[in-house]
Amino acid sequence: MKKTLIVAEMALREISRRRGVLILLALLPLAFYFSRRSEAYWQSVRFVSLGIGWTLSTAALFAGNAARGIEPRLRLSGYATHQLYLGRLLALWAIGAALSTPYFLLIRFDLDAVRYSGIALILLLTVVVAAPLGLAVAAVLPRELEGMLVLLTVVAMQMMLNPDKATAHVLPFWFTREIGEYAVTPGAGTDHVLRGLIHAAVTLGIVVAVGASAATVRLRRRRHVSIA
């Protein structure tokens, strides 16, 4: 656990020093929020969570790619792959929590007639899913531009696809619409929350499996080496 925590600490230090990027990351969801605030406040709630999802997953993409150079050295220095992966994930979750809290407060004081518990749940799940999603994309697409375009496409499709289409349901942030329905529609039942939770849990499982498996393969101990 000690090794995981020091990886998390150093990853947090690295990310927090990208100040320009952090400022942009923090402001982008605000633009998403106000783009629909005046005419369709219920959409602005979902848009802000998608904005956070995109910014955090992009930050995770950059963090994952930046770590590629030093991770082989850290493996040789005694770290296990899961310590490197979990440490980075913990740091990104902490960044995500710091990023999303002001937006929850904004909605809390800006919007009435919404269920704040539902909104808190959407933001929490967005942070939980977006970080490993970015790490999974970084693992599969080691070039940042390609990875960023993929994440942009995913979020744009999530925003624009007709919710009746099955494609929209399999995208990683579909749960924001399900739980968003509960949060902003008066009388909406908790079945939306349940479906959203299941979707988020399945998505989380998939992206963690992809990211962790890719890291395990990339940083594996090669069979041709025997250590006495």
């Binding site: 040789l76 220095s77 005694g78 090669r222």
Partner: protein, 271 residues
């Protein structure tokens, strides 16, 4: 350059080469005082004269090449690696003992870095195997550092992997940095702000944290100035004397008399 400046520079150059400066500097000072001539006209630049002094003392100061006598630390057997249709390594064998320095040489693209990565277990060969006894420190040719971390943070991060406390790792890193004429390792400059040579010093220091038994160094001196380059070889000899097994990838043939064994990976050359 005044006589005092020249003598001070000579003294520093001799210390850098681990030669006690008192004798040669005293003799040079006496000669200059008696002759009244300029040190540059009599002896030339301090670094060049220091080299001449070291050459004259070589037999008495250091055993330059010796047969391996320690236990085997690294044994790579029949390593073959292909990239597409191109065979880069074809049945290469390498054995490194404790207290031995091996230079891996060869033309560009002949597989030196690949061989080192295979020995470190970072790249898989198509065939062959590697037996390692002890812990490994690896210095890649490029990368191996984190852009936004300071040297101290690197020391703490890598040191923690070896089980060192933050304080111990930081102290060990700073000491190793000082041996490479890098007293600024304690500063708060992030790696991305370090010069190429200084970043390579950081890379080299990280490879030796935790006192590994085997050191695999891939052209670790890139960007070093002449003084640091000499410091580096002093460090290599120090590790050899401490019983480390060291492999240095190099293309600088003038250093081959400073190592115990040479492995030439140039195609069609004897291996």
């Amino acid at each position: 350059m005044t006589v005092d400046d020249w003598l001070a520079a000579l003294s520093a150059e001799l210390r850098r080469r681990q030669v006690d400066p008192s004798g040669p500097v005293g003799e040079a000072a006496a000669h200059l005082r008696d002759s009244g001539q300029s040190p540059l006209s009599v002896f030339g630049p301090p670094a060049a004269y220091a080299l001449a002094v070291v050459d004259s003392l070589r037999g008495a100061t250091r055993e330059l090449r010796r047969l391996p006598s320690g236990e085997p630390r690294l044994r790579a057997t029949k390593i073959t690696k292909r990239y597409g249709r191109s065979t880069v390594l074809n049945g290469v064998n390498l054995s490194v003992h404790a207290g031995e320095v091996v230079a891996m040489i060869g033309a560009n693209g002949c597989g030196k870095s690949t061989m080192l990565r295979i020995c470190a277990g970072l790249t898989s060969p198509d065939s062959g195997h590697v037996q390692m006894r002890g812990t490994v420190g690896f210095c890649p040719q490029t990368g191996g550092t984190a852009e936004f971390l300071t040297p101290d943070e690197h020391f703490m991060l890598v040191g923690a992997g070896r089980g060192a406390t933050r304080t111990a790792a930081r102290a060990e890193g700073r000491t190793a940095a000082a041996a490479l004429d890098w007293p600024g390792a304690a500063g708060d400059a992030e790696a991305r702000h370090l010069s190429g040579g200084t970043r390579q010093k950081l890379n080299l220091v990280l490879s030796q944290l935790g006192d590994p038994d085997v050191l695999l160094l891939d052209e670790p001196y890139q960007g070093f100035d002449n003084g640091t380059y000499l410091d580096f070889w002093q460090q290599v000899w120090h590790w050899r004397d401490a019983g480390k097994a060291i492999v240095v990838v190099t293309h600088l043939l003038n250093e081959l008399d400073r190592v115990d064994t040479v492995l030439d990976l140039t195609p069609r050359s004897p291996r």
